[in-house]
């Protein structure tokens, strides 16, 4: 029987560098991301890196990684073309809004989040959807 998380917001029209809201996805076999941007003063110009953890409690994704604050930058698959997007690279908006569907390339994570960096403009919205069929 299907079990899903529904859409849960990680970044809600974010307009600054920083991490979003950490979401527990440990109950779901497949994890999808819905990424979209809108104009702030102008179109999106920022980089988004997806981060995940197997730790029992959510790490501080905005802090440095360590043995006790363990997380990793996560590879995702772009559902538009099937391409793999390296976790260290993430997705860069270059003064153009975009709307993407992605799948986390590592089913089994307990925690998911995203980090905005190099923000110049735009409102970044990211939601996660977990599902087990």
């Amino acid at each position: 029987m299907i079990e899903s998380s529904g859409l849960i917001t990680i970044l809600d029209a974010a307009v600054a560098d920083g991490a979003g809201t950490s979401i527990y996805v440990g109950d779901y076999d497949r994890i999808f991301l819905q990424l979209g941007s809108a104009d702030d003063t102008g179109a999106a110009n920022a980089t988004i890196n997806f981060v995940g953890s197997l730790s029992n409690t959510a790490p501080t994704f905005s802090a440095a990684r360590s043995v006790s604050n363990h997380f990793e930058y996560i590879d995702v698959i772009d559902l538009e073309d099937g391409a793999s997007i390296d976790g260290d690279t993430g997705i860069a908006f270059a003064a153009a809004n975009d709307f993407r569907n992605l799948e986390v390339n590592f089913g089994g994570l307990k925690w998911i989040n995203a980090v905005v960096s190099s923000w110049v403009d735009g409102q970044i919205t990211l939601k996660v959807y977990g599902v087990t069929h």
Binding site: G26, D27, L54, S66, E72, D75, F106, G108
Partner: protein, 130 residues
Amino acid sequence: MINNSGLLNIFAAKGATGTGVAHRFEDYNKIFFKFGSASSANLTVKFQISFSNEQPDFSASQSVSNHWDYVDVIDAQSGSSIDGDTGVALTGTDDFRLFEINAGGAVWVCATITARSAGTLTLDTYGVTY
């Protein structure tokens, strides 16, 4: 319904070569590793599995009666495959990684540290069936 092992420790800040604690994982079809080092680690880690009924001696030589092999893992950061015979080598820079065994269904899971000259490694494993 989800069934998981919780995080089980293989190495706890281990600062020497050697084989870690083996765990029985046959109840899980997906198996992961949580890998973190400290103190500028310089070492190599190789992941091991077995389908034997009884726990093999992962620190001893492979044989028909002591059957295990190194296992390929998938790097969560890149999606790339890391050959079991190669393992993961740190060369003085600490790292924090997540891996998935590229052979879910293994009965036993373990890991061995080789070629260590500095630092410590903490390694946990996590099995899950959805």
